[in-house]
Subunit: 225 residues, 2 copies
């Protein structure tokens, strides 16, 4: 079981990494890896509850967006022999990030996603797994409301667009974005505005914290470069 836990922190898409134990009998000692671990047959009813348990242990969150990416198995991915892992990706709201890391700070970190990879070299086949997770995320953001699960409880339309732009790594056209989002029942106005050194912006919240909205088309090219 391995997890790709994403969040948007400081205007960047990030993924949670943990450091492998430094014991010499362990494979890839001291290297960065995706959080995960073995299934506990006495505790975990099924794969999803195992993923939820790991998520709570590593990131301290209990009700994130969770989706299976797939499974990887083979003879060469672990030096100890044939192995298989089930991979999930999770999305964390940015205001829950402060709760992380739950363990020793030096052994957990958020790594920046650049393009469709990260700078760190990962243990096992985690580089390939992470690439698949990022690709899945990006593709799905094109035609769903996935980035909504990366938002805090209340947010403005511009903030939501900004998170879309960060996860897609390209700019979007403002009017098209707004029309498209407001045409669905994704959002609900709250009677508050975000103040700043400019015109205050309407705040919204999700109408349903669990529901994923599908758009009928993808947005193509984007606004200001």
């Amino acid at each position: 079981m391995d997890l790709a836990i994403f969040s948007v922190v400081e205007d960047a898409l990030r993924v949670l990494l943990v450091r492998r134990p430094d014991a010499h009998e362990e494979p890839f000692p001291g290297q960065w890896a995706l959080p995960g671990g073995f299934i506990d047959l006495r505790v975990d009813q099924d794969l999803e509850s195992c993923a939820l348990r790991k998520l709570k242990e590593k990131a301290g969150i209990s009700a994130p967006y969770l989706e299976q990416v797939g499974s990887w198995g083979g003879a060469s991915r672990d030096p100890r022999g044939w192995s298989a892992t089930h991979v999930y990706f999770a999305l964390m709201a940015s205001d829950d990030v402060s709760l992380v890391p739950g363990g020793n700070a030096s052994d957990v970190k958020w790594a920046n996603v650049d393009g469709n990879r990260i700078r760190e070299k990962l243990a096992f086949d985690h580089t390939e797994i992470l690439k698949a997770a990022i690709t899945r995320l990006r593709n799905k953001v094109e035609y769903t409301s996935l980035p909504a699960f990366l938002m805090p409880a209340e947010f403005t339309l511009s903030e939501l667009q900004h998170v879309y732009e960060i996860t897609l790594d390209r700019s979007l056209e403002k009017k098209a974005f707004r029309t498209r989002v407001l045409a669905t029942d994704l959002l609900e106005e709250v009677p508050r505005r975000r103040a700043g050194a400019n015109r205050p912006a309407q705040l919204f919240k999700l109408r349903n914290r669990k529901h994923l909205v599908y758009f009928s088309r993808a947005l193509t090219s984007g606004g200001r470069q």
Copy 2:
């Protein structure tokens, strides 16, 4: 490892089933199930080669469209205890169907997909797994060229549309379908026509037997009822 092998036979979407062995120490004796089996750690380099091997054994085909659907694991899916399986779905060209079944004819059959289920009651959690595979297939057909992998080497546009309609279980509008397909580089004309009791139809083949085309929108409602 379990496989949902689809094909379109006699104007219907079908999935390949195998009968469980009748020995009493086996779970679900004599019941229908998705083809599959255990990974052979000496032979299978990774999950995909295991799926390809099973596919060759059960259906006698060697280069189909193959895609991972996900994995299922839990304490209650097998009476023998905690277990997990990796699930792939495969698409077979209709003219390869004659090669099936490879084993005893009475132990293998094509089952009709009705709605998003089949009539047969399946062993283990295979009913749920198959439902997920059918849903994945249907969803993806909306915006990709997946049904092209269900076609014989040469086919007409009407035949392709017909296979789309069978997999989607609804009718499509002729002009919209043609315009959309021909706007991509999916097909290539061959210098032959399909004769019949009517105007002969242009035959096409896939420009690339492996490449999957993505459309920018889904088709909505369809033509003649």
